[in-house]
Amino acid sequence: MPIHLSHFTAVLMDEVQIAALLFMAVVYALKIRWVLSYKAGKERTPSRGDTGKAIRYAYTTVAMPWELPSTRKHWFRWVEFAIFHVAVATAIGVTFVMPYWPKAIASPPVVSTLQAVFGLGLLAALSRLGRRIADPSMRAITSPDDAFSLIMLACWLGAGVLAAPQTSEPALIAFFGLTAFFLVYVPFSKISHYIYWPFIRYYIGKHLGHRGVYPAKAVPNRA
């Protein structure tokens, strides 16, 4: 069962989170306005393909690892990506539920599931971190922000494993403290890539659809 929380922890889980969330929303709104302030390049020629279908295709390839040559070749990395992002999305969901409906996620099966998801996400994060350290080609493209973001997310997921049972106040402070930090830091860091994702997938789908390249044609003898 959830423990009784100190005033500090209660404020951290509620008011601080809301303030940080509002900050994030404002920065993201400004960021989207900033992206839209740049004029989009347009095609003047008649379309060769089905642009709408191509845009839908561009959005759905993320769930179709067999479609991209990279994810088809490195399927393990795609699984790692999926686990990591499911864990992060779940952790975000928990930060909304835990402060207001703690009992909803307090039953032992739910706690075990959350811990398993966060634990797997942590392993995926560590695996990614290991690759960035061990693989020279990854090391060459890793910026301090890349490394820091990954380390902090690994810490956050680790804190999530400990905080999920809602029985340790230090774990809850760590988890929600890191959440508040992320809400402020993420809009400026590489982690904000998900804000760009809908835009860039839209434009690449539209562009390649216009040219008749997307949706990708069935490729026999795929490597």
Binding site: P69, R139, I141, F148, Y196, F199, Y203
Partner: protein
């Protein structure tokens, strides 16, 4: 990149100032979105072949992205080092950036197809090339060819006279080949269905594909024309990043097509030429065109489907594979048409793996063929393509791009695969079922008999082969076994043309060629390079002197040699006594 200093910073300053102004929404997203996940790393043939961490698409893009991070990115403007931001403060840094964007990327877009985000590395590379080119920081070949396109309207500096003479000669060849004295290659015929725009390589060095196209138009009974101006479908604006040049080249072709009142424009088999003419140049020029543009591949498919041409695949019995040009497969959606044609024109078609939009670059894309300073690297990274070709077990390669033909020919020679590369239309032309029996003429016209050719080559077997072949066809020959002897004989005999080897002991053929082009009494003698080395390409692109009149790669094929010699001598003869073009 290592930091060197040049003591000057004017160009660096101009690039830094231009960068934010060049960004559009798509470019901004490509600069901002990369998470350095590394999924694109082994999509690139430069990285696959070398294993060098500095050859991954993300690393190469970061050499430009650092400018974005430093000057545009929100966090980067406050703490650039934290996000990998850095600015350029010295012109020497631009030279290093030039080597990255011109020398380690063919803008093939395979990484874009592999990227889970769709980060368009080619877009970023082209944008950077444009900023550098504007400051004069570009490979010499790119500068020369771009200048030629501005000055002459075509990338090989072919004069109007040479262009028309070549078409007249090709028309004679067509008539001989199809056995019809009325077969023609029309020029500036108004109101026709098709205006056909070509790659200058087809005029200057490789007329086989243009002859094949003319034969196919003839067989289909097409009402077509070549334009007298605006005939170059290639566009170095795509490679140099210069949108103004891109628009200029597009406008030349579009204006002539409108003037002639044609129903559509057909682009010969050139990957970047088709992409630029059909898709990019209307955007650069800001024009909506009143006629459609299609690839000659599409035209040929229509001819087959409507029964306008018939093909007999027994004409091409050897196993053939198809190399998808990047600009057709990944930027223009042309992948099925060549397969449709090859499966009908050849007995044994074999798929390359991977293929279509996932195919590897021929290594000659992005203008790489004109950048001879990067040739050794190009051949090193071509191992990926060489392995791909070997794995098919094919005895011939087909492609639909002249850059690819050259790129593949170089790597095939380098990796000793020893199989020919031809355009798709050449296979189709060979398989054409004509009402009259076609024949390839090897006859030397009477007016050329007795003309003299100086063969300069250090290989006695090659000298014997070439002189025997030429003498058997009524030509007089002189020989020289090295550069010094060649110069001596050329001075003494003043031959009608010279065939020149490149790799010879002592002074190279390149030195001899430069001398021939510089000596006033020798400049009128046409030169055909006959070589097994790829160095000759610098004569075509990095030229301080006019380019050679032809080239033939060893091992020399008899029909190609005779055709090239006929073309060069006939054009020389017609220049001496001009005749009208029908």
């Amino acid at each position: 990149m290592a930091d060197h200093t040049s003591g000057s910073n004017e160009k660096a300053k101009a690039v830094v100032e231009a960068f934010p102004k060049k960004l559009n929404r798509q470019a901004l997203l490509s600069f901002a979105s990369c998470v350095h996940c590394g999924m694109c790393n082994d999509s690139c043939h430069y990285y696959l072949a070398t294993g060098d961490p500095k050859m991954t698409p993300a690393y190469k893009a970061d050499q430009v992205r650092k400018l974005f991070k430093y000057h545009v990115d929100w966090l980067g403007r406050l703490a650039p080092a934290w996000v990998g931001g850095k600015t350029f403060t010295d012109d020497a840094q631009l030279e290093e950036l030039k080597d990255v964007v011109f020398g380690t990327c063919t803008m093939c877009r395979r990484c874009t197809i592999s990227c889970p985000f769709g980060v368009d590395h080619a877009l970023m590379m082209r944008m950077t090339r444009g900023m550098l080119s504007a400051q004069g920081v570009a490979p010499e070949g790119v500068k020369v060819v771009s200048n030629d396109q501005w000055q002459t309207g075509n990338q090989m500096g072919v004069s109007q006279e040479d262009y028309l003479e070549t078409l007249a000669w090709l028309q004679d060849e067509l008539r001989n080949e199809v056995g019809d004295p009325k077969a023609e290659i029309p020029i500036d015929k108004a109101g026709v269905n098709i205006v056909f725009v070509v790659n200058p390589r087809e005029i200057k060095y490789a007329p086989m594909s243009l002859l094949a196209a003319a034969k196919i138009f003839y067989a289909a009974g097409e009402d077509w024309t070549m334009p007298s101006v605006g005939w170059d479908n290639t566009n170095f604006g795509l490679f140099s990043g210069d949108d103004k040049l891109g628009a200029h080249m597009g406008n030349l072709a579009y204006d002539q097509a409108i003037k002639l009142g044609v129903k559509k424009m057909v682009v010969s088999e050139c990957g970047h030429g088709f992409r630029a003419t059909k898709w990019e140049a209307p955007n650069w020029a800001g024009r909506d065109l009143p006629f459609p543009i299609e690839s000659f591949l599409e035209t040929m498919v229509e001819y087959v489907n409507t029964g306008r041409i018939m093909l007999d695949p027994s004409a091409n019995r050897k196993p053939v594979t198809y190399h998808d040009p990047c600009n057709l497969g990944r930027s223009a959606g042309i992948t099925e048409e060549p397969r449709f044609l090859l499966k009908r024109a050849c007995m044994d078609y074999r798929e390359m793996t991977p293929n279509r939009q996932e195919n590897y670059c021929c290594t000659g894309g992005g203008g790489a063929m004109s950048m001879s300073e990067y040739s050794s690297r190009r051949l090193q990274v071509a191992k990926v393509k060489a392995d791909q070709i070997k794995a098919t077990g094919a005895a011939c390669v087909a492609t639909a791009c002249h850059n690819c033909v050259d790129g593949l020919t170089d790597l095939i020679k380098h990796y000793k695969i020893n199989i020919p590369v031809k355009n798709v239309c050449e296979y189709v032309a060979d398989a054409l079922v004509l009402r009259r029996a076609a024949h390839v003429t090897e006859e030397m016209p009477a007016e050329l008999r007795g003309r003299s050719v100086l063969v300069i080559d250090d290989d006695p077997d090659v000298v014997t082969y070439l002189t025997t072949l030429l003498q058997d066809h009524g030509l007089k020959t002189f020989t020289a076994r090295n550069a010094a002897e060649g110069i001596k004989v050329a001075r003494r005999e003043r031959p009608d043309m010279i065939t020149l080897d490149i790799s010879m002991p002592g002074r190279s053929g390149i030195e001899v060629f430069t001398w021939l082009r510089s000596e006033p009494e020798m400049t009128g003698i046409p030169v055909c390079i006959v070589t097994g080395a790829i160095d000759f390409r610098q004569l075509m692109y990095h030229r301080n002197v006019p380019p050679p009149d032809g080239y033939i790669e060893k091992p020399v094929k008899a029909d190609l040699l005779l055709m090239t010699v006929r073309r060069i001598l006939e054009i020389k003869l017609h220049k001496a006594s001009p005749v009208g073009v029908s």
